[in-house]
């Protein structure tokens, strides 16, 4: 079922301005690798917080897996039960307005959060337990798994992020920045979410740490087929790893498509306040000096090297 937004709007306070406006978006449950781009304050983080029901929309329809998130009914409704459909008269409701925007804490919201794993910016600041293993077990513990089950899930997750076994009992505060971030991601993977969302996962990491983390995410997707959604400002990372790009500007989605079409449209990039990947900038300068020629703008080092050697980039 994946994630489906239909004309969703969100605002932080009832009389405030819309931080999300007219959002229509569909993300499949499997095999998507989506990057969300946009200027600071464009609504990216608010969008992903709506996906895992940390924030609830006040207008529109939002389905997350087989749950419909509706604030009006004060808890999300499971769509696939006949009783719920009858009780809430879902087939007849044309629009679903929330009476208030105060988040509702109910057990059913927990179900949504189990489907969506959200890794915040600088997640290493949220580590708190005395050992790495205990920290990763915290997520599943919240979802009422038995202690043995929590330990199994935590170990599986730590293995998935390629974390050395000999450090399981170490305090998370004695790890390097990159290791801490991997532990924090393992904490989310341990709840076995269907979709993983990461807010600026590479920010603050050194170049090696960045590559390691991005390759790890690609690897996790290959192994698990889970969809991964990443918020990023780093165009070099986006150019290398994105399959699909969503751009947000002033609370709206203004672009949803593949990366090359976006990066080759300089007017649009300028309009969205986005930078070019470094390699694309270099390519344009070399072309301006009549030193190279290309049909498609190189986005990665390998592509520019191909062009310099006289080759073509094939779609």
């Amino acid at each position: 079922m994946g994630i489906n937004f239909q004309n969703v709007a969100f605002r932080y306070s009832p009389l405030g301005k819309d931080v999300l406006q007219d959002i229509n978006l569909e993300v499949e449950e499997n095999d998507e690798f989506v990057f969300i781009l946009g200027h600071t304050g464009s609504g990216k983080s608010t969008l992903v917080q709506n996906i895992n029901a940390l924030l609830l929309p006040y207008k529109g329809k939002l389905n997350v897996m087989d749950h419909q998130v509706i604030t009006r009914y004060r808890h999300p409704i499971k769509l696939n039960t006949k009783l719920n459909k009858k009780r809430y008269n879902l087939n007849k409701s044309k629009h679903l307005f929330a009476k208030s925007n105060i988040p509702v804490y109910s057990r059913t919201l927990r179900n949504i959060r189990k489907h969506i794993g959200l890794v915040f910016q600088f997640p290493e600041y949220q580590l708190f337990e005395s050992t790495v293993l205990k920290d990763v077990m915290f997520g599943p513990k919240n979802f009422k798994y038995s202690k043995e089950e929590c330990e199994r899930l935590a170990k599986e997750a730590l293995e998935l992020v390629d974390f050395p076994k000999e450090l399981y009992d170490r305090s998370p505060f004695l790890l390097s920045g990159g290791q801490m971030r991997r532990v924090a991601i393992a904490g989310i993977l341990a709840i076995n979410p269907d979709v993983i969302i990461l807010d600026e996962p590479t920010v603050g990491l050194d170049p090696k740490g960045k590559d390691t983390l991005m390759n790890l995410l690609v690897d996790i997707q290959k192994k698990t087929h889970k969809s991964i959604i990443i918020i990023s400002h780093d165009m070099n990372v986006v150019a290398r790893y994105a399959k699909r790009i969503i751009v947000m500007k002033q609370s709206r989605i203004v672009y949803d498509g593949e990366k090359r079409r976006l990066f080759e449209d300089l007017d649009k990039l300028h309009e969205y306040n986005l930078d070019l990947p470094t390699v694309s900038g270099l390519s344009m300068e070399l072309k301006k000096k009549n030193l190279i020629n290309y049909k498609h703008l190189p986005l990665t080092i390998e592509e520019l090297e191909t062009v310099i050697k006289g080759g073509d980039i094939y779609e």
Binding site: S176, L205, K208, H233, L282, E285, L291, I301
Partner: protein
């Protein structure tokens, strides 16, 4: 301010972070200290400003030993900008934030106002003088922090990963500010970073790995040595990587492309 580290070592508990380090930094220079997360570069900055004390060796500032007594004099001549812009804003407005340090120094009101305007203008933030911090972006907050440090007439300014939490626009803004103050006064500036784009603003680049200096040279010399950078958990600039990758390959306009890529390394 002239800096000299003589055989300095430092460890947290048993873990050695800085190991027998010898380093001299000339006054009025811009030096970038680069290295991966955990290479010891922030520890080095804290040692220089006296926030940490070496376990072994001596630090000299302007040829004077840095110790408990001399630190009181030197503190007034140092400014350090940290990673998180939200952690260093103390005032309720931009003006108050800069005034905080000046008030502590008992500067006269007239002179204080003059300094606030002068340094906010220098970092391009004069129009935000009455703004409160929540209305500023990360890059703007860092620029205010830089103005605050400069207003104290510091002789040494250390930027410790000051752009690593910023978006590309904020990073650009801070970079532009460094370029401006580079030409202003005779300050010694140390840029601690793992971002080579930031390091290229310096006259000299030092690569730190496991608490030791593994390379010391001009940006061009350091960026060309890809092996050292990779072994130190870093990556060279894309333009230099392309030059290195294609070193043994023949292609059209090779000389011109190499020259253009070098030029762009420091221009873009």
């Amino acid at each position: 301010m002239k800096i000299k580290l003589d055989n300095v070592s430092f460890s947290y508990n048993e873990e050695k972070v800085i190991s027998n380090l010898n380093l001299e930094i000339e006054s009025s220079s811009i030096t970038a200290i680069i290295g991966h997360n955990g290479s010891g570069k922030s520890t080095l900055a804290k040692l220089i400003v006296g926030l940490l004390e070496p376990k072994k060796g001596t630090i000299y500032l302007d040829d004077q030993v840095l110790n408990e007594d001399s630190i009181k004099i030197f503190r007034n001549k140092m400014g350090i900008i940290f990673q998180n812009p939200d952690n260093q804003f103390v005032g309720v407005t931009v003006k108050d934030d800069i005034a905080f340090g000046l008030e502590n120094k008992n500067i006269e009101r007239e002179e204080m106002i003059q300094k606030i305007h002068k340094y906010l203008k220098l970092v391009g933030m004069e129009e935000y003088i009455e703004e409160s911090p929540e209305n500023l972006s990360g890059g703007q907050k860092q620029r205010v922090a830089i103005a605050g440090a400069l207003s104290m007439e510091c002789e040494l300014l250390i930027l410790d990963e000051s752009t690593s939490m910023l978006d590309p626009l904020g990073t650009k803004e801070v970079g532009e500010t460094i370029k401006k103050i580079k030409n202003e006064d005779n300050k010694t500036i140390i840029i601690i970073t793992h971002d080579l784009e930031e390091a290229r603003l310096a006259d000299r680049v030092i690569v730190l790995n496991k608490g030791k200096i593994v390379k010391d040279g001009t940006p061009k010399e350091v960026f060309s040595d890809e092996n050292i950078l990779i072994n130190s958990g870093l990556k060279t600039m894309d333009s230099v990587k392309i030059i290195n990758d294609l070193k043994n390959v023949d292609y059209k306009n090779k000389k011109e492309i190499e020259a253009a890529l070098w030029e762009l390394t420091f221009k873009m």
